[in-house]
């Protein structure tokens, strides 16, 4: 569940009410399979590739991608998790708490880091993640994989691997999990 996005989207909290199913479970799985093939193709294999999942929405997605990469290429790519709360640019503007675990199992210097998240929205989380990643070494390149790109970017950031482009209204909420992608809104 996209808890973090839910907390970031006014009115900060409430109950998620789904309106439409955007992708069903099978479609999510197919999108992840395609993304995995694209990752392999783009990087001509998996040498030096490290998946870094953004807490919390990206973690389950990254695990699924890692499993597929293993099925396709027989390589177990290292996977880490990253909570970007301490790098956000809106600290002080709204409640920010580093609630989830950051664990990067390898030195990222010289590696190809693939950031994985469920939804790409304003781009501010990714901006913070780009900053955070450098604390663990200087990667050779950083790429971005997301299940949903919902638009409304506030920074010059674009994804490298996308499950689906989904036009949304700003006040809508996208909920991504392996069982499907739902579009809806928060109600108090």
């Amino acid at each position: 569940m996209a808890d973090r996005e839910r907390r970031m989207t006014p009115p900060y909290g409430g109950v998620f009410v789904a309106r439409t199913t955007v992708l069903d479970a099978a479609q999510v799985q197919r999108a992840l399979t395609r993304i995995s093939h694209e990752i392999l193709e783009r990087n001509q294999g998996l040498e030096d590739v490290v998946l870094v999942a953004l807490q919390t929405g990206g973690v389950e997605i990254a695990r699924l991608i890692a499993r597929r990469l293993f099925e396709i290429d027989g390589v177990d790519v290292p996977m880490g998790t990253l909570d970007v709360a301490l790098y956000r640019d809106d600290i002080g503007l709204r409640p920010v708490m580093p609630e989830a675990e950051t664990e990067i199992p390898v030195d990222l210097a010289g590696k190809i880091v693939i950031l994985v998240d469920d939804v790409l929205f304003t781009g501010r989380t990714i901006r913070a993640a780009l900053d955070a990643v450098t604390a663990f070494g200087r990667p050779r390149s950083v790429q971005l994989a997301v299940v949903i790109d919902r638009g409304h970017r506030e920074l010059p950031i674009r994804p490298d691997f996308v499950g689906k482009n989904l036009p949304t209204r700003r006040d809508e909420v996208v909920d991504v999990n392996p069982e499907g992608v739902l579009l809806g809104e928060m109600r108090k």
């Binding site: 790098y87 708490m97 950051t102």
Partner: protein, 317 residues
């Protein structure tokens, strides 16, 4: 409720647990190849230490810097204070310069609270030790150190349930003991204070602790031996007969340490009077002396407090 940290007594168990869990995050930050985050960029924290301090001062300083805050060192000796400016005027001045946080240590019990009541809404006051009253970040870091020892991390539900902590020494004059008792008992530990009558605090019967004057009778029941520093002036005041007598009754000598179970841990807020509270050989050679760990944990605990008060946008309740 409060945007300040003055006394752990103001905090519910849940708020203490939350700060300790947040400390887990900052311990991880400390292990990164660049152990610094931009979380408090643009914030300014003034350090007002009116009493000597090494560890507390340095670790607040490092904590603030690792959060990218700017630190304003207030020279308490060479400033206008020596010209007779009152502390209230000083705080007013610093506040007018636009600081976001004031870390204060003073020998007068209750001064941080008084200052907290007077500052603007935008300023957080953090008590770094006031008189005999409280030393909340020491209480937190001691509790964190024990949680880490017994459970590896604090986790979201930090607990010292089932653990018996002995606090030995000059409890009467110790703000560390007061904050430790509160932190430990909030997390479910049982605490026994061990001190001669002359070093027991007044109204100790109201504390949530057991009390003993006889170390050897209670020592075998402790999982944690928490030592306090004995100040030389207590002897001058006649509260202790002599160093030898104190060591004989309350010191962790080699003989006493030899009788401790291996897993019993020893803590001390430092600096240790070697050969008084703790024998040199025990300090140097025994496993499970957590004194360096306490110092190490001072930084992430204070990062958690500073971030929680100045950065998270959420008040402690």
């Amino acid at each position: 409720m409060s945007r300040h940290l003055i006394n752990l007594k103001d905090l519910e168990r849940g708020a203490i647990q939350e700060l300790l869990h947040l400390t887990d995050r900052f311990v991880e930050v400390g292990q990164r190849s660049i152990p610094k985050v931009p979380a408090l960029r643009g914030r300014t924290i003034a350090m007002l230490f009116f009493e000597d301090s090494t560890r507390t001062r340095l670790s607040f300083d490092l904590a603030a810097k690792r959060l990218s805050a700017d630190v304003l060192e207030f020279p308490t000796r060479s400033s206008s204070l020596s010209k007779g400016e009152s502390i209230r005027d000083t705080v007013e001045t610093i506040q007018s310069m636009g600081v976001d946080g004031i870390v204060i240590r003073h020998s007068s019990s209750g001064l941080p609270r008084e200052i907290a009541d007077r500052v603007n809404d935008s300023v957080a006051v953090i008590n770094a030790g006031d008189g005999l009253n409280a030393h909340p970040t020491q209480g937190l870091l001691d509790a964190y150190t024990l949680c880490q020892h017994f459970h590896t991390v604090a986790g979201p539900q930090a607990s010292l349930e089932g653990i018996h902590v002995g606090i030995i020494g000059d409890v009467k004059h110790s703000r560390v003991a007061r904050s430790d008792v509160h932190a430990y008992t909030s997390l479910g530990a049982t605490v026994t204070l061990v001190a001669p009558k002359s070093l027991q605090p007044p109204n100790v019967q109201d504390w949530p602790v057991q009390i003993s004057e006889d170390l050897d009778s209670v020592l075998p029941t402790f999982d944690v031996v928490g030592l306090l520093r004995i100040q030389k002036e207590r002897m001058e005041e006649g509260l202790i007969q002599s160093v030898d007598d104190y060591v004989d009754r309350y010191g962790i000598t080699e003989a006493r340490a030899a009788k401790l179970r291996n897993e019993v841990v020893i803590t001390h807020p430092g600096p240790v009077n070697r050969g008084i509270e703790l024998a040199e050989a025990v300090l140097e050679h025994r496993e499970n002396v957590l004194i360096n760990r306490q110092v190490t944990n001072g930084v992430p605990v204070r990062m958690a407090v500073l971030f929680r008060l100045l950065g998270s946008g959420v008040e402690i309740d």
